[in-house]
Symmetry: C2
Subunit: 236 residues, 2 copies
DNA sequence: CAGGGGGGGTGAACGGTGTTAACGGAGGCT
DNA sequence: AGCCTCCGTTAACACCGTTCACCCCCCCTG
């Protein structure tokens, strides 16, 4: 009975299964091995330890969410930047909600003692995700649909950080233009994190309507009013 | 050498020490016992297990942050509701940043397999925290300083949830008035979560200026414009 | 004042974990 | 053929949460 070979894909796959079933604590080397019909030390031939396992898992999830968001964007009129942005954020939220454990792993409270290896797979797939939204904002800006700030309106240290961030990501923007990007990213992450973590469970039986409104308001805050009057977005 | 007795306070205290040093994973029954100069089974006389330990720890932290925010509010002109709100949110943010592990435990990704005991200490101290902010909003509302919504402007299911939430907390508000409260809570949590978790590290060397602006903008969004022109708040 | 009970500690043990070390077989290259 | 490298094995170490049986000492009761 020749078992199929022990590829990294299979290891990450069953790790993810464990993650989904029982959270990060449940992704346990020995159990991964067991499910692959193998003993624990065998995994150490392919993966350098539990941390490495988590690194690969995080990167895989980050890649997946980036794919999902990219697909949502590609599925839009290339000129309708407002809708593209809304679809991307909603795709993000939907992925997060249907993949709570994965979202928690990637965007939740960092696992203590776990340090993402510098230049490792997590940072490259993280950058990809950021650049997806970065591109969205650049389009919005070029189309004159982005509500920007005057650079003077920014605290000097904040201005410097924003300039630095833009340069690091290769975004051709000045600080007052990057600000809405970072703010949007921050608020989106916050909205989705809070919904996923359930820290508003006390208020809502069904959080979807609230979150949709929050994300719509966010998009409206980012966009320059006018031309495209956007009602509530219906995007399964 | 009569050791001092093994009180619940001392147990929670050293647990918190462990939490701070190494995150939730590090709060380990055996190590707590070791630090108290005692063996592990001894702790089981005072605490029913690791989950109980975490419950007590979470409740203690929630109580502390509520105290801190309450103190910040009490330290203000009782009539200046705008400032009271700003001070409370800033106190929350500051506590979160100087107590990251504790914040993560309370407001971060929920620990899998851990279920807060219904009606247990965590829910009572959680309610206390919520009511602190609830009271702030009631004051703001009574003073006519809260920007509210028309009930009609809310999705029906959202409206029902909000009414229910208000009733459950004993807030004398209609849905369009509760909405800004929940939204404010949500955004505050999001802003602070994202700063604490460091998921914006790629953008900022120093996140304080950005966060302050976010929290100020949030407060401004919540308040009815006019009467009290609020510049940037300086609140160490 | 004797004695019993119980609160609060002990060591030992069970089954789980991550990780390492020593070993061995199967397949390809020289 | 001989060897080497890949990839698996078993055994072991040190740690974890939790339970068990034990026991000591203090306090309350008769």
């Amino acid at each position: 009975m020749a078992r199929e070979p022990l590829t990294t894909e299979r290891i990450v796959g069953t790790s993810r299964g464990l993650l989904v079933e029982g959270g990060p604590e449940a992704v346990v080397v020995r159990e991964v091995a067991r499910r692959l019909g193998v003993t624990a030390p065998a995994l150490y031939r392919h993966v350098s330890g539990r941390d490495d396992l988590l690194t690969l898992l995080i990167a895989a999830c980050q890649d997946e969410v980036a794919d999902v968001c990219q697909a949502a964007v590609d599925d839009c009129d290339p000129q309708d930047h407002d809708t593209r942005l809304r679809r991307a954020t909603w795709a993000f939220r939907t992925w997060a909600l249907t993949n709570r454990p994965e979202f928690g792993l990637v965007y939740g409270t960092p696992i203590v003692g776990y340090e993402a290896p510098k230049g490792g797979p997590t940072v490259v797939s993280g950058r990809r995700f950021g650049q997806l939204f970065g591109a969205l904002f650049v389009d919005l800006l070029r189309a004159g649909r982005l509500r920007t700030l005057a650079d003077d309106d920014l605290d000097p240290s904040l201005r410097a950080d924003l300039q630095h961030a833009a340069d690091a990501m290769g975004l051709p923007m000045r600080p007052g233009e990057v600000y809405p990007f970072v703010m949007g990213f921050q608020r989106m992450l916050g909205i989705v994190s809070v919904e996923v973590s359930g820290h508003l469970r006390w208020a809502f039986a069904d959080s979807e309507a609230f979150t949709r409104r929050q994300l719509d308001d966010l998009a409206a805050d980012l966009e320059r009013p006018g031309s495209t009057p956007t009602g509530p977005t219906a995007t399964t």
